[in-house]
């Protein structure tokens, strides 16, 4: 890593884990970035991407929400769901409260946090379907 350029990333995930490879690709990218010493300022889940936070009834090795939780715990990642996108998909209540559907490590936030993180980041990457 001598002389390597360390970057600060913001990651936006727009796809659910069930519809496309995008969320899993984002997960793999983040793991690789962290392993190479880069910083992940924010992982922001938007559009159908908020479904990544939903606890799976059939938790197994393909349960991406569990892997997100583990990655957040291990590296202190900030996993933020957009509250309005989560409301539209029934993941949080009309008041924006967690209804017990969210995996550990995810928190509810808003677009303001995404904008703020973008201003501090060197790169913003969007993973979409």
């Amino acid at each position: 890593m001598v002389g390597a350029l360390i970057m600060k990333f913001v990651i936006q995930i727009d796809a659910s884990p069930h519809e496309a490879q995008a969320a899993n690709t984002a997960y793999q990218f983040i793991k690789a970035a962290l392993a190479n010493g880069h910083h992940i300022l924010l992982v922001f889940f938007y559009y159908d991407g908020v479904c990544n936070a939903q606890v799976s009834s059939f938790a197994g090795k393909d349960d991406l929400s569990g892997r997100w939780s583990a990655l957040a715990r291990e590296h202190g990642l900030d996993l933020v769901l957009c509250v309005s996108a989560a409301q539209r998909r029934g993941l949080v209540s009309a008041e924006g409260k967690d209804q017990g559907l969210l995996a550990p490590g995810f928190r509810i936030g808003g677009l303001g946090q995404w904008v703020d993180a973008c201003l501090k980041a060197d790169r913003i990457l969007t993973f979409t379907s």
Partner: protein
């Protein structure tokens, strides 16, 4: 202190994908509300968003363009569309629901590169 960044949203989705259009506008407005310059580029199937609104509304779809008409009040700086994307779909620049800057396909990479942040909405 954070300096201002210039954002471009690249719209490649047709208006047939649920709430994505509304959520795109929410994100645009969030950036504009923080006083950062915002441009929008319609590309590929995204140019269908610029189709005459009544066609979309008749199909029970919510088009983006009427919402975009309000964005000048939020300092959305420029709305652009790729000329070839329109031509490939037999859409005339004269028949769109709002005036756009036409960019040739060869101009698009340099135009996007003129921004600090490009957000893909595919």
């Amino acid at each position: 202190m954070n300096h201002s960044k210039c954002f471009v949203f690249v719209v490649r989705q047709p208006p047939f994908r649920g709430d994505r259009t509304v959520e795109l506008v929410d994100q645009l407005l969030a950036v504009a509300a923080f006083d950062h310059p915002v441009d929008v580029l319609f590309l590929d199937d995204g140019v269908w968003q610029l189709q005459a609104a009544h066609v979309l509304e008749g199909a029970g779809l919510r088009p983006l363009a009427p919402l975009l008409r309000t964005l000048e009040f939020y300092d959305v700086r420029e709305v652009a569309a790729e000329h070839e994307s329109l031509a490939e779909r037999a859409l005339s620049p004269d028949g769109l629901v709002l005036p756009v800057r036409l960019l040739a396909r060869s101009e698009v990479p340099a135009w996007i590169a003129g921004h600090d942040v490009a957000v893909g909405c595919g």
